[in-house]
């Protein structure tokens, strides 16, 4: 996942960037070190990275350190934190270990978010790039198609897709991908429309580059900064969608996720706040970390902040 925000390797690392060149017309001149410096200066973004690393550590190292089966009943139900002989986060309405659930639930959540985001990026960037590059009728057709997806209530649409098929991790991820790609498509299109008329795109055509090459090797690297920022934000949204679906009972019954834990315990919110609060906090911090990182990336790629 870290590769995502270090990103933009296409541009290579600029040696001796020197912070000069304030006359750049296109955003996203050689980034590398300068971008990292600006990112590090945003303390909230650094906090976001630390939180995310913590979440990843808990999810992938945690289960081996805290080796408890989250679906096993270990004590009487609804024992709050601090009760004797009960794990630190208490037990849920069936007497299962809430802490074990939180530790084991991240994997599904993050996997759904990753697959959904990958799908959103692939579909959104391809459609947006083609629409923005060719313009005219192709643009009109693709944008009307995008709007069809955009006018439908996203959560309801995702619910319908999951209901039609089965609530497996894959179907949930795909349904989230299907409802969330339009925003990225529109952003990509807008970026490509802007880049379309710049001289270096004309120059690439004049040396005989093919359309696909111009779109993905010439224009896309120049459109990356806003797209990377949008991608981190969409990842947070995907996690919230997964939680919402699971809360409504459409989580994968074979895989524990944070949303699934909340959904399971929704009847005991008043009698056992800890059953929903701890998985909720896990979702909250994960989404928060993506938002903070996205915010930091926005700074990192902002040409106006360079050299300050």
């Amino acid at each position: 996942m870290t590769g995502l925000f270090i990103g933009n390797n296409d541009g290579g690392n600029s040696d001796g960037d020197g912070g000069g060149g304030g006359d750049e017309t296109a955003a996203g001149a050689p980034l590398g070190r300068e971008a990292l410096r600006l990112f590090m200066r945003n303390r909230a973004a650094v906090a976001g990275v630390i939180i995310l690393v913590g979440v990843i550590f808990m999810t992938y190292i945690g289960p081996s350190l805290y080796d408890q089966d989250p679906s096993r009943i270990i004590a009487r139900p609804l024992q709050g934190p601090g009760t004797e002989d009960v794990p630190s986060f208490g037990t849920d309405y069936l007497g299962r270990d809430v802490f074990a659930g939180v530790v084991n639930g991240g994997d599904t959540t993050l996997r759904v978010a990753l697959v959904a985001t990958l799908m959103i990026v692939v579909i959104g960037v391809s459609i947006g790039a083609i629409a923005g590059f060719y313009g005219g009728r192709i643009d009109t057709a693709l944008m009307r198609f995008t709007e069809i997806f955009q006018v439908m209530p996203a959560l309801l649409f995702a619910l319908v897709i999951v209901t039609l098929f089965e609530p497996s991790t894959m179907v949930i991820a795909i349904s989230i991908g299907i409802v969330l790609w339009p925003s990225l498509a529109r952003l990509t299109r807008a970026e490509f429309l802007r880049l379309r008329n710049l001289e270096f795109v004309k120059a690439a055509q004049a040396i005989g580059a093919s359309d696909a090459r111009i779109m993905f090797r010439v224009m896309l690297p120049n459109a990356l900064p806003p797209l990377i920022v949008a991608t981190t934000l969409v990842m947070g949204t995907a996690i919230l969608f997964e939680a919402a679906l699971a809360f409504l009972g459409l989580g994968d019954p074979n895989n524990i996720s944070w949303g699934y834990l909340i959904g399971q315990n929704r009847g005991s919110v008043l009698g056992g706040w800890w059953t929903v609060t701890f998985p909720g906090l896990a979702i909250f911090f994960t989404v928060l970390s993506f938002s903070l990182i996205g915010d930091g990336l926005q700074d990192a790629f902002n040409p106006k902040l360079r050299g300050r």
């Binding site: 060149g21 050689p30 379309r196 008329n197 001289e199 040396i207 005989g208 690297p221 120049n222």
Partner: protein, 293 residues
């Protein structure tokens, strides 16, 4: 290949006949007919909107991409190195791609924006080489270095690794020229190559282009509104006004004995050294009254 380029070849390398280009109901080029001979420099002059840029974009067949431009009529007969003659107006997109950059290259007006900001300049020239020649990156980079030397970029080894924003406008235009010439094209179209540069750099770039024409033997078509540039580099001149070619001839004929009022108006717009002697304030340029405006 063993063709002699010493004398001007009697057979044109590019022969444009009755070219008509429209943007919707607007006619941007109306019935242009001209020839370009190997090894010569042809200047196309005219004011903004006279159709000179559209003519060059039509030859590259770039006028139809992303705009509403359309080549309505006419032929653009281009002689390939093996002697075969093709009509550029009839080629499909993939055949045209083989010609762009490889046979006919183009330099644009704005060196500041015609290089991709996210790649090093050396990388961009090497990519252009690899587009048309089946060579690996090392060979292509070697070729880029050779081209950097040819266009007289100082410290070419270091410059290859620099990004466009680390270079001055004049250096960037040299990189553009290096890129345009990297595949040994037979025709080079330069669309106002010096407009965005200051006067001393203009002189250097024009001198460079003149030398390169001699070393490479490429025919050069230079588009400009600056009669000073024309006098500097051109062998022959085409004067365009309101989508039509109004006059053409050798550079001496045009300067010594312009036939059309419009040509005279263009020439009179060039300030002459000493023409303001004795005046306290700058005076407006004299205009020929009957010239169309």
């Amino acid at each position: 290949m063993a063709e002699q380029q010493d004398a001007v070849d009697p057979e044109p390398i590019l022969s444009v006949r009755d070219l008509r280009v429209t943007f919707g109901s607007f006619t941007a080029v109306d019935g242009s007919t001209f020839d370009l001979f190997p090894g010569e420099t042809l200047a196309v002059v005219g004011e903004s909107g006279s159709g000179k840029s559209v003519t060059s974009l039509s030859i590259m067949r770039l006028v139809e991409l992303g705009t509403r431009g359309k080549i309505e009529d006419g032929e653009m007969l281009f002689r390939l190195p093996d002697g075969e003659v093709v009509d550029l107006a009839q080629l499909n997109e993939s055949e045209m791609r083989e010609i762009r950059g490889n046979q006919i290259s183009m330099i644009f007006q704005e060196p500041l924006t015609s290089l991709n900001p996210v790649y090093t300049t050396g990388n961009q020239v090497a990519e252009a080489v690899m587009l048309h020649q089946q060579v690996d990156r090392d060979v292509a980079t070697e070729r880029a270095l050779e081209m950097f030397r040819l266009v007289r970029i100082p410290d070419p080894e270091q410059r290859l690794a620099q990004f466009p924003h680390e270079m001055s406008g004049g250096m960037r235009q040299r990189v553009m020229i290096a890129m345009a010439l990297s595949c040994d094209p037979t025709v080079l179209i330069a669309d106002e190559p010096t407009t965005a540069l200051d006067v001393t750099i203009q002189a250097q770039i024009l001198g460079l282009m003149r030398d390169l024409r001699e070393t490479t033997g490429a025919a050069v078509m230079i588009i400009t509104h600056d009669m000073g540039v024309v006098a500097e580099v051109a062998d022959r001149v085409i004067v365009m006004n309101q989508a039509k070619i109004v006059e053409s001839g050798s550079v001496y004929d045009i300067f010594e004995n312009p036939q059309e009022d419009y040509t005279r108006a263009l020439l009179s717009a060039v300030p002459r050294l000493g023409s303001m002697t004795g005046l306290a304030d700058p005076a407006p340029f004299p205009l020929v009254d009957s010239a169309p405006s």
